[in-house]
Amino acid sequence: MSAASSQTTPVVGEGFIATQLSYVVDLIRKHGVNWARKNSLWPLPFATACCGIELMATGASRYDIARFGAEAMRFTPRQCDLFICAGRVAIKMMPVLQRLYLQMAEPKWVISMGACASSGGVFDTYSVVQGIDQFVPVDVYVPGCPPRPETLLEGLMAIQRIVTNDGVKSSKERGRGLRITVGQSAQTHHGKEDIG
């Protein structure tokens, strides 16, 4: 486009349409794709201790994780997008956990469930990882020892809030270290902190 034509033809209209179009696309992405995605999370249960029992209770009929669309638990990382680490992780188990995380397809999220996965808990010993976030990125921490199913469901809803905002981005685009604890708003912390 030459300089003369740009002076005669206003580009405001095109830009306005483009802005509106991207806005609509963004709406569809946010409220269409992400809406579908957040209500169809596929958890990978990495249950190593008593948190796994609460995870099973969450999946059972009384608490019923299917109400949030996350009932399809698969035991292979290639079919899952939500990693739930439920229980303490020994150092010898850490390469397994990391390989499972790396084998999951993007986009993927990680819930660190319970005190042991988040901080080592009472197992302050030489062989237990003091928080899996030292070695893999974690999206949501669920406190409790073990957490009740309601707490885990609240953690799942925190994941859903993250998915609503940037579900179609890969976790690489989202950056590292989204530190969200259950009870805090996902909106306030999202994207603002970049803690290594």
Partner: protein, 178 residues
């Protein structure tokens, strides 16, 4: 002393007169006949004694129930650092015997009994892993509980509970690398 195991002690002392077995109760009980007997064996004579305990008709200990280790560091009146403990059971005779084999730093070595009881394979690997006692003649003496690359022997009494930084020293997976 248990009446059942009395012939075993007599057979041992007649066969190995040069060894001081020092037979005594492992724990003192109210009823003397319930007490289980423990004998001491020096490490260099362990294979001969164990072979005798398994093969002799008066002993016939067919089964090695357990193999463990005790660290006697800072223990009152302890003369030696480590004791490798063998729990033996005779299925045909119905009697039990405990064998203790004392070893010391800096180079604790005990002959392996895998040639006599094949079930000693993994317990010896566990004792090697957690106490650092080398079992000479073991076919495959690797660590069994802790991970490869772990240097220490964590059940020794002088090893700190929280380790020496081993739990921090590990590869990190980041979102950029994933």
């Amino acid at each position: 002393m248990s009446v059942a195991v009395q012939p075993v002690i007599e057979a041992l002392t007649t066969r190995f007169p040069d060894i001081d077995f020092a037979p005594g109760p492992l724990l003192s009980r109210k009823k003397k006949e319930d007490e289980q007997i423990c004998v001491r064996v020096p490490p260099d004579r362990l294979p001969a004694v164990m072979e005798f305990l398994r093969e002799d008709d008066r002993c016939s200990f067919e089964q090695l129930c357990d193999l463990a280790c005790v660290d006697y560091l800072n223990f009152p009146k302890a003369r030696d650092r480590f004791a490798v403990v063998y729990a033996l059971l005779s299925i045909t005779k119905g009697h039990r015997l405990w064998v203790k084999c004392f070893v010391n730093d800096p180079n604790p070595e005990v002959p392996s009994v895998t040639g006599i009881w094949w079930g000693a394979d993994w317990p010896e690997r566990e004792v090697y892993d957690l106490f650092g006692i080398k079992f000479t003649g073991h076919p495959d003496l690797r660590r069994i509980l802790t991970w490869d690359g772990f240097e220490a022997h964590p059940l020794r009494k002088d090893y700190p509970l929280q380790g020496r930084g081993e739990r921090e020293n590990f590869e990190t997976v980041t979102r950029d690398s994933a």
